[in-house]
Amino acid sequence: MARDHTDKLTLAAVLGAMGPGLLAALAGNDAGGIATYSSAGATYGYRTLWILPIMAVLLIVVQETAARCGCVTGKGFASLIREKFGIRRSALAMAALLIANTAVTISEFAGLASGLALFGVPKTISVPLMGLVIWLLTMAGSFRRIERVLLAVSCVFVTYVVAAFMVGPNWGDVATSTVIPHLVASPDYVSLLVATIGTTIAPWMIFLAQNNVVDKNADESDIPLQRVDTVSGSVLACAIAWFIIVTTGSVLFPAGIGVSDAADAALALEPIVGPWSTVLFAAGLVAASFLAACVLPGVTSSAICEAFGWERGADRSWDEAPVYRGIITAVIICAALLVILPGVNLFEIMMSAQVINGVLLPVLLVFLVFIASDKIIMGTYRNGRVWNILTWATIALITVLTVVMFALMLLGF
């Protein structure tokens, strides 16, 4: 796996490579992420901080593995699953992906609805309209034109970094909580942990990371640059999450404000922007959710069609690629309908989607680790022992947490 490429790692090449990973990291902090982190900070203060350094390492492992598989094979993750495991197990993997991604899409729609609700638009109006716009954009494949704008707007969440410093928490406490694990034996706490894992290492990110590499036609010699990209992106993603928890943990937790909707979560930004916090938070939430809601149905449908050999791509018409377009349409309609149902708590939806993501993540990770350590597929670039152990550790960690979560729920805590 180690091959000397140091001569190619010039500063320009490194900076050039860092682009996509950083963008993906910013896009990764979507509606579900903001909801989960805010809620973690507000409910448990700094007591979930310790999971984030671990998450950063695991995120690096997963993303690096996916990118490396893409570089070596030139094929998407779905193709690899199908070719190594056959139809039955691909169907299992794709079902897991479909459920997880539909859940995330639902949470993005919930994010859109609650973001727009802060501007005074009721969800019965905002959700169908946004659903229609998103559907038209994905069908035409033209959302890439506004991708940059949305990313720029969703960057407002970087203000959490500034906010964290302005709040002036006790940095000693923060540091201690980050290093020393802290467990609370309640199903809420455990499910919050699962949600944090699920939103940081989302199944769709594996597919997206690998597709990016394949589309660029990167090969083995590009692996070092891909590593720079994944490491910088993953660290940034986790750092932002860490700052969100620190901010909410310092502002909302002592005040005893539980986060039950977007307006509560926006309060955490009050110290820095004052009355504008709602507007800022809502704009960021809407942009991030909108972007992710445009990307997710396409990624899902593309992976499923890739695995089963159906035509795919936004440039294919309904006649050429009925399944591809059908899946996208179904996912969007399903998400919009669920969010629009009267009486659902939007913030709860965002959170539970991340729990589903977390629970289904091990399924896909198992496929990933088997493929990445396969000698025939990966040759000399197959997983080293450390990587295998770390991936299996992630799988074990999530599985144990999931079991504990369900056990605690059953025991009636």
Partner: protein, 616 residues
């Protein structure tokens, strides 16, 4: 036992009834149209793989297992032969090219047929839904096929015969396909290009490397997307890429080289022969989209004094990859163009006749800096299969052939369609075929209307505490949106119909005067209609004076914005001309949407301000 999915995992039993293992894979001999299964791979205890000859040892097979005709101790193991392919390892679940349907598909199952007592032949790969369902579970297939039959749309098997399959993953393993095989290489280059466009980038490079250089050159010339062609080229080694470019028609090669970055292009040019390099460099010296850029330097020109026999001899001596010949041109001693002959004229003439006597003297030619669209027009007008490109002294620089002219026409047509707001992929004519597509293209103003009304309502609520008043601005808004939309539609039509005058000046002032006048009339009509409505609805103003006033001011805003939309439409015309000069494609829909959003924003702001003023 018809499908591989049913055979895998069957027990392998010897004549003494001892179970040796489970079926893992089947090997076939690739040399036949319907290849025989020649070897059986099975997995013994402890996952040890074994391979034995099918013909020698297999007695019969049924649903319960594969029965051998020898005892386990007598079985000799064999190895995979060079002409053998393993079905499960090399074909099942893999992407293959269906060289008959010209598609890239994934193999869901493999259909076999039993012939004779113990013979098994490969019929083909199942790529349809039935194979998928069967591999999932045989019961799935039964249920779904029965259901489909009840619904009157029976689910058919989609089988691709072995002889119409081309394996894509070939390069990694040395699989030799038989002679009777129809492979990718035998397809028309345009079909190869279509298939290549469907593949992942890595596979594209692999498939390309399988083709021989001449075919690769033709196929890459057929790829419509220039970026994609350049990407494929960058994936090849410099030497291959360069020799392939040298084989292409110089004009196609020039178009492709232009997509590459400077260093790569220089390297490739330097690697090819002097003659080809010079031809391509000359073409690259002309500006893009002119006759000089799309012409080829491969044409036949002879002195006017030569005989027909000389001309035919000259044509015989040409290389095989020479551009198609439609005409022979004649030159005077100074090398200037004097006449043209068709091939037909040459063939029917006596061998010793002079070309000067046969040739047609009034030759139509174009200058190298003429716009390619005008070149195509000339060719259409005079019904030419090729047109010579000459310098001022009438020396022939090259010719533009009909295939390039057709490309130009198709390209321009596509650009025009795009400006007109119809995607070229939508069948090419008129309205988009799908009802949702039609909605997205034509009726999106409803969406803008709804969203804008929502925003107006919330702004009114925030600023004046009267969100319910939004209905007045809202009910007049469609007039504004449609006016803006139609104004841009008029600009697009004007642009498409416009033909440039000789002096090259742009008709901005005239256009502005026209549209401003139309805008004035439109604004007046809107305002008067508004007064009419108000007058009819509230005949004696006193009771409903606020509503009266609100509606009246909204109509006034609408009239003003409609006038502005028309008057400023000259800006969109300027954008269209500017982008055309800089060779950028413009989407007509983007223009319409922009105009509508601008009008919408203006109107919303104005009407909100007016409403607040009235209420206060």
């Amino acid at each position: 036992m018809n499908y591989l999915s049913e055979m895998l995992k069957l027990p392998v039993v010897d004549v003494a009834g001892e179970k040796l293992g489970v079926v893992n894979d089947l090997g076939i001999a690739t040399g036949e149209v319907f290849p025989h299964v020649t070897s059986l791979a099975f997995q013994g205890p402890g996952k040890t793989p074994f391979m034995i000859s099918w013909r020698k040892y297999v007695d019969h097979i049924d649903e319960t297992g594969v029965y051998l005709k020898a005892v386990s101790t007598d079985v000799r193991f064999s190895y995979l032969q060079p002409d053998e392919v393993l079905l499960a390892r090399d074909i099942l679940n893999k992407q293959i090219v269906d060289t008959q349907g010209m598609k890239v598909v994934r193999v869901n199952d493999i259909k076999l047929s039993a012939t004779g007592e113990n013979q098994l032949r490969l019929l083909g790969a199942e790529v349809g839904a039935r194979g998928l369902l069967r591999s999932l579970h045989p019961a799935c297939e039964r249920i779904v096929t029965t259901l489909a039959k009840c619904l009157g749309r029976p689910l058919k098997e989609e089988i691709i015969a072995w002889s119409y399959m081309d394996l894509l993953d070939r390069s990694t393993r040395d699989i030799k396909l038989s002679v009777s095989h129809k492979t990718l290489d035998e397809l028309h280059p345009a079909d190869i290009a279509d298939i290549i466009e469907q593949l992942d980038p890595r596979l594209r490079a692999q498939v390309f490397n399988q083709l021989d250089t001449a075919q690769a050159a033709e196929a890459i010339g057929e790829i419509d997307d220039d970026d994609l062609a350049a990407e494929v080229l960058e994936g090849m080694s410099d030497r291959d890429a360069s020799s392939m470019l040298a084989l292409m028609d110089p004009d196609d090669a020039a178009a492709l080289i232009e997509e590459l970055d400077y260093e790569k292009a220089e390297k490739l040019l330097r690697l090819m022969g002097v003659k080809e390099e010079k031809a391509i460099r000359t073409l690259l010296g002309y500006e893009e989209d002119t006759a000089g850029r799309i012409m080829t330097s491969e044409f036949v020109a002879l002195p006017a004094t030569a005989t027909v026999a000389d001309a035919i001899e000259a044509i015989r001596a040409l290389d095989e990859d020479f551009e198609s010949i439609y005409y022979v041109y004649t030159l005077d001693p100074a090398g200037a163009l004097t006449g043209v002959l068709s091939l037909r004229a040459l063939i029917v003439a006596e061998a010793d006749a002079r070309l000067s006597d046969l040739s047609y003297r009034d030759v139509v030619w174009v200058a190298p800096d003429l716009d390619q669209e005008d070149v195509a027009d000339e060719m259409t007008k005079y019904n030419l299969a090729a047109i010579p490109v000459c310098d001022d002294a009438r020396h022939i620089l090259g010719i533009v052939t009909v295939d390039d002219a057709l490309d130009v026409i198709a390209e321009e047509h596509e650009e025009d369609l795009q400006i007109a707001g119809v995607g070229a992929t939508e069948g090419g004519s008129g309205e988009p075929v799908h009802v949702f597509g039609w909605f997205a293209h034509r009726q999106y103003w409803l969406l803008v209307w709804a969203v804008a009304s929502g925003i107006v309502a919330s702004v009114l609520g925030a600023l004046g505490g009267a969100p319910e008043l939004f209905i007045y601005p809202m009910c007049v808004m469609p007039v504004v949106l449609l006016a803006a939309n139609r104004a841009v539609a008029f600009v697009k039509n004007y642009y498409l119909e416009y033909s440039e005058p000789e002096d090259g000046g742009k008709p901005y002032l005239g256009f502005f005067v026209q549209t401003a006048f139309v805008g004035l009339v439109l604004g007046a009509v809107i305002y008067l209609c508004g007064q009419l409505v108000i007058g009819a609805a509230y005949p004696d103003g006193a009771a409903a004076s606020v509503i009266d006033e609100l509606l009246s001011s909204c109509f006034a805003c609408a009239a003003l914005v409609a006038f502005l939309s028309c008057a400023t439409s000259v800006a969109y015309l300027a954008i269209l001309f500017w982008r055309d000069e800089h060779d950028r494609n413009t989407s007509g829909n983007a223009l319409s949407v922009t105009a509508m959003l601008v009008a919408c924003a203006l109107y919303s702001a104005a009407s909100v301000a007016a409403t607040l003023a009235v209420v206060a």
